[in-house]
Symmetry: C2
Subunit: 408 residues, 2 copies
């Protein structure tokens, strides 16, 4: 199903010194499925995260945010699938805290040193006893070379695990970074995605990591959308294990830009894997809006195109019904937009020029591009130098089928 997304190979996922991962089959929603993941960090690690802005943010999101703020060093993460523990009120918070306490007991930590995460159905009580029963097995199989299993353990409607590794040399030091992500529906991250975790073995001061996680999220998970539905559980976590030789204590460090760009690149890779595996996706669409006054208006227009059901179904049908793109630009909410300065390209084909149909445009040129699996929609606003890009997929019959059947 996933669009041009090769399955990650376990052997390509590099262990990162300073982090071990372990999983369990706790039977939370279905039997014989990895559904609990524990990550254990070295004492040298720093951790930073960004979370959903959904007002109904899930209990584990609230607990993770509180624990990060507590000032106690984070030493473990615990993730369950099959239940989002969102819309669950006070009992939900107690269940998230209970999970942390049980992980802490097994690893000799304080409960506030553990970050909890959940993903799955909203508004149903978390089966916390099943999770607790599964934790000893997850802790027992903790190992550094477990990233592929970890990527599988956090899947829900994903058709394939999402993971990537990279090694960069910064200031003469080799830095190894590996990340995993999950998500296929309810994807329109606002500060983060459904779930994304990236670890690397440099030593990074907390304020630098806090800056880095926002930078990377804003250029990766915050630029993708499948259905415009911002989840209650979006979380993106960056872990600097401190087990390698590179040390970055300030954003003014000469090594910071290289580290920042490597982390951002890996994050974008993980974010794009989510789009390629979007529910029902048959096309991978890049929407690039250029020549705007500021980044905000460019992204507004890009999201308007990326969310339009009519645009998305036209991509699914490979039908160059491109007036729908103009309509989505027109209702994006940029009130003083001068459409007579606007050009629209589909890949290299100039479709609309100065706000009207390009006289040289031929339907067969549009048709040729629409048939591709990867398509670039490029809009030039002709009123500035800012730009913004959003990645999305089409809207197919399978999206409806998957979401009409999700719980059954």
């Amino acid at each position: 199903m996933a669009v041009n997304s090769p399955l990650p190979v376990a052997a390509d996922l590099k262990p990162v010194n300073g982090i071990e991962l372990g999983f369990a089959e706790a039977g939370i929603k279905k039997p014989n499925r990895k559904d609990v993941l524990v990550m254990k960090l070295a004492d040298s690690a720093t951790v930073a995260g960004v979370f959903t802005k959904n007002r109904f943010c899930a209990a584990p999101v609230q607990v993770s945010q509180a624990n990060l703020k507590s000032g106690k060093p984070i030493r473990a993460l615990v993730v369950n699938t099959g239940n989002a523990n969102a819309g669950t009120g006070e009992p939900g918070l107690a269940n998230a805290q209970r999970t942390c306490a049980e992980v802490a007991k097994l690893l000799g930590l304080d409960a506030q040193q553990v970050l909890p995460f959940s993903t799955g159905v909203i508004l149903e009580p978390l089966p916390v006893e099943k999770i607790v029963a599964g934790l000893p097995a997850a802790v027992a199989n903790l190992k550094a070379d477990n990233w592929f299993n970890a990527a599988e353990a956090i899947m829900t409607t994903d058709t394939q695990p999402k993971a990537a590794s990279n090694t960069v040399t910064i200031g003469g030091h080799q830095v190894t970074m590996t990340g995993i992500s999950k998500g296929a529906g309810m994807i329109r991250p606002n500060m983060a995605t459904m779930l994304g975790y990236v670890a690397f073995d440099a030593k990074v001061a907390q304020p630098v990591l806090d800056e880095l996680v926002r930078h990377a999220a804003d250029r990766s998970f915050n630029c993708i959308t499948i259905d415009g539905d911002t989840s209650t559980n979006d979380s993106f976590i960056l872990m600097a294990t401190g087990a390698g030789a590179l040390e970055v204590n300030s954003t003014d460090s000469p090594h910071y830009p290289a580290l920042r760009d490597a982390v951002t690149g890996l994050s974008l890779n993980l974010a794009q894997q989510i789009i390629r595996d979007g529910e029902g996706a048959t096309k991978f669409i890049t929407v690039a809006v250029e020549e705007g006054r500021d980044e905000e208006e460019c992204r507004k227009i890009a999201y308007s195109i990326a969310h339009s059901p009519l645009v998305k179904t036209a991509f699914f049908a490979s039908d160059p019904n491109l007036g729908r793109i103009l309509a989505a630009i027109g209702y994006a909410g940029v009130d003083d937009l001068d459409t007579t300065k606007l050009d629209l390209y589909l890949d290299d084909v100039l479709v609309a020029k100065a706000g009207g149909r390009n006289p040289a445009y031929q339907e067969e040129d549009g048709q040729r591009v629409m048939k591709k699996a990867e398509i670039l929609v490029r809009v030039k606003l002709g009123r500035g130098n800012a730009s913004g890009t959003v990645w999305t997929c089409d809207l197919s019959h399978d999206y409806v089928s998957i979401n009409a059947d999700y719980r059954s």
Copy 2:
């Protein structure tokens, strides 16, 4: 296909003194289909309209707005289907003006006394010669008792014509009102719907009618959404023919409230007919948000629910996956929303109480409501006295099919 929407019966549509309607089969997109409509108004008529706020508003919308502003009394309207004349630049404007000029010639009017409307595919040149060739036939069959044919003549992907009539007695005078509308996709009107026309035989001063058209639009066509796509061609037109005995010259008139409410009621009926015939619709959903601080935040939340593809597919599947509604409320953009004060009802079933699952809620109660063809989603915010209601439909396989095949 349409949800609980009885086909309007021609005999039930009352002629309105002071307006005649005529149609033609001009072969704009397909042969043997009514695709041109002309409406001719009495010399006593006043006309007011509201139009799309899409920045790519169509050429006929631009010309209609200019002609309404010209101060010359409007005496005719001309509508074509099969082509939206949007995204067509200067040639599009010239074609809309040419259409007005030809209607004016046939009826002995000035071109500025004619309002043009188009609906259909965007970004394709208007086949103006076909329209012009069809106009004499439309003018030749002008008659008062032609509303059903008129409703058919403005259909595109609609599966059935939309029309309604009403007779009210105001200040001892009988007022007859009849309206038609069209639209099934690209429906998220912003100031108006795809196309809606309501005529009645009272005499109404222009400032009163200008006020009335906004009032009626804001409580009818501006409260519906199918896919969140605001069209380039939305237009809602109110015509007071002045041929009856009732005269309203001020909004302070004792007769104004009754007239206002009757016109608004008929407009809402026409707007809801659009939702019932929404592309692929199998459910008619009312989303009522109550106890908000102001109407704006209530409507924001209502639209967020009504636009969520996940909520809409759950309705299609009759699956009470109601956490998706909480998620949509949470990302609606009401930043200080206190979810612990929020209750969610599905018809009479209390699903979520104080922001969490109602302990007494039973899945089978949710299931029972979800299976119905008409469903009320009711959200109580617990923070004020304002409310807002939006009408929408579900998202089905047929929506994807219809929009993937629209042009073929």
